[in-house]
């Protein structure tokens, strides 16, 4: 099994590594959703630890500061980049390309994903043509190991006026250059 070696002080780094360079900065909400537990803690062997992550909850005022930092390891098991092709009543259909993981990387797949997997904050982004990352990962902390499944929609850069104008000019040139009968 491949292991994602994450050397960061914040789960934001995970998303920076898991999305492409043109993705928007990782928000607090993305981090929170990534940490959402999808299954119960397990008692399996603990993998090697790679990162130290600050506990996301505000600390009680009475605790000493040292006890607030928890050692957390994140192990990325599988990651796909996807594109929504159709939104249905309770699910959506997407084309996936595997980016990471045994039997995953490099494979092209078609997925049907429940809409429940999309956080309310991303609901407005769920439309045909939208891009997202689907990840399955372990998080190991003092409370045990948890498996996460997360769907994070990419907030791509907006269209700039110049590039749209250039594209439209190219389209006009091609259309006018076609010989139609």
């Amino acid at each position: 099994m491949q292991t994602a070696h994450l050397a960061a002080t914040d789960s934001r780094e995970y998303f920076r590594s898991a999305t492409t360079a043109d993705a928007a900065p990782v928000s607090d909400d993305m981090v929170r959703r990534f940490r959402r537990t999808q299954s119960s803690p397990t008692t399996q062997a603990v993998p090697e630890l790679h990162i130290s992550v600050a506990h996301p909850s505000p600390p009680p005022a009475t605790l000493p500061q040292e006890s607030l930092v928890e050692q957390v390891s994140t192990q990325l098991l599988a990651e796909w980049h996807g594109q929504v092709t159709e939104v249905l009543a309770s699910s959506f259909v997407a084309e996936l390309k595997g980016r990471h993981g045994e039997g995953v990387a490099g494979k092209e797949e078609v997925a049907v994903i429940p809409r429940d997997e999309v956080s309310p904050d991303d609901a407005e982004l769920l439309e045909p043509g939208a891009f997202f990352s689907l990840c399955i990962a372990y998080e190991q902390s003092s409370r045990g190991r948890r498996k996460f499944t997360t769907v994070v929609f990419r907030r791509l850069p907006a269209y700039r006026r110049e590039e749209l104008e250039e594209a439209r000019e190219r389209g006009r040139q091609i259309a006018r250059g076609l010989r139609l009968e």
């Binding site: 299954s39 980049h81 043509g129 499944t149 269209y159 389209g171 006018r176």
Partner: protein, 392 residues
């Protein structure tokens, strides 16, 4: 499992023999026709995803396997519409067939759509379903070569071979378009306008709205034989649109009822129009349906009800591949559990490719060949089944 292209190798059809071969792995379809005298036509394009090293258009692979020189022998390429399951590999196909006339709906070569294509291309984001990129590549080849595009509309001749019958021994062949209608053109342009990106709007991939209705329905006349290719045409409540308009165009042209049907829109009930069967088709024609299995299993096409309806209307019904998509394998067990816990279903994008080949000669009639996983859906009639049992 990779499709065995050696298995389809056969003697080339005779000059006076018609051939129509259907490919459809479950998401994607392509039709290759021999229209007499060694001339070929390709309708739509899909790629052989089972061959990871050479995921080329199936039309290219098939014609190469037969020993046909695509560059000189393909006379016509029709892109019935721009859905991803009909245009994958189209750019390469057009490039490999420089002598072919290209035809698509008029709306797809107008400035409005060309502009939309370029706008979407500027997003520089894509996954494997390249969609518009294939269409864009095809149009660019045609533009750069100064090739003529014959746009299709209801009741328009796309191409004819041996029209005067001057070539003795080779039947006259004519390909006519029965759609789209003028109303479809207007509706499509309006949909494209609504889908175009706006400044400061987020980048995204192009997503089809409802272009099925600008599908090109084709009628092919080869001597006394007629064939109707239903593309993805669907029914619309407006009589000036969808099947009602296409049927009217066919009747207006006085076309001969067809003996073979490429079932429209994967056999769905939305593609079923009663008058198609009574006005444009001969009784109980031969039929081929291409499945669509990209949606959840409960929405796959054709459904059992669709197959039942089609079996009642046809003499023999073939399907080019199974309607249920195969699961992808090889993932770690923990990942599988994670997917299962979240009710996420993954299916392999590369689906087994099947093929149905039908050859027709005026003296011999139809000769059909099925290359698995394509299959015959027709249930033997009780009398025929009993007779077969007695013979056994």
């Amino acid at each position: 499992m990779a499709f065995d292209w050696n298995s389809v190798v056969a003697p080339l059809p005779a000059a006076d023999e018609f051939e129509i071969s259907f490919f459809g792995p479950g998401h994607g379809e392509c039709i290759v026709m021999h229209v007499g005298g060694g001339r070929w036509v390709v309708v739509d394009s899909c790629v052989d995803t089972t061959d990871k090293a050479n995921p080329h258009p199936v039309a290219e692979k098939y014609l190469t396997a037969l020993g046909v020189d695509m560059a000189s022998a393909v006379d016509l390429i029709v892109a019935s519409h721009w859905h991803a399951d009909h245009i994958r590999g189209l750019g390469r196909l057009v490039d490999r067939c420089p002598s072919a006339l290209f035809s698509c709906a008029q709306a797809m070569v107008r400035e409005e759509f060309m502009t939309f294509v370029e706008e979407m291309a500027s997003a520089s984001v894509s996954t494997y379903g390249a969609k518009l990129a294939d269409f864009r590549e095809a149009i660019r080849h045609l533009h750069d070569r100064g090739k003529t595009i014959r746009w299709a509309q209801g009741n328009k001749l796309l191409k004819a071979w041996n029209p005067s019958g001057a070539l003795s021994g080779i039947p006259r062949c004519v390909v006519n378009a029965l759609s789209p209608s003028d109303q479809e053109y207007s509706a499509f342009i309006a949909e494209v306008a609504a889908a175009r990106p706006i400044q400061r709007g987020p980048k995204r991939a192009a997503a089809a709205t409802s272009p099925n209705l600008v599908s090109i329905v084709l009628h092919v006349q080869f001597g006394d034989l007629s064939v109707l290719l239903g593309a993805d045409m669907e029914v619309h409540h407006d009589p000036q649109r969808g099947w009602t308009a296409a049927i009217a165009a066919g009747q207006e042209a006085g076309l001969t009822p067809a003996h073979l049907l490429k079932v429209p829109h994967h056999g769905s009930v939305t593609g079923h129009h009663h008058e198609l069967w009574t006005r444009l088709l001969a009784p109980r024609p031969l039929a081929v349906v291409t499945p669509f299995n990209k949606l959840p299993d409960e929405r796959k096409l054709p459904t059992a009800a669709d197959i039942g309806r089609l079996n009642d209307l046809t003499s023999r019904l073939y399907q080019t591949a199974p309607a249920v998509r195969t699961s992808s394998r090889g993932r770690d067990a923990t990942v599988e559990r994670g997917l299962r816990d979240s009710n996420i279903v993954l299916r392999d994008a590369a689906q087994p490719l099947g093929m149905v080949r039908c050859r027709w000669h005026s003296l011999a009639g139809w000769r059909e060949e099925v290359f698995p996983p394509a299959l015959l859906l027709t249930t033997p009639e009780p009398a025929a089944a009993a007779r077969t049992n007695l013979e056994d």
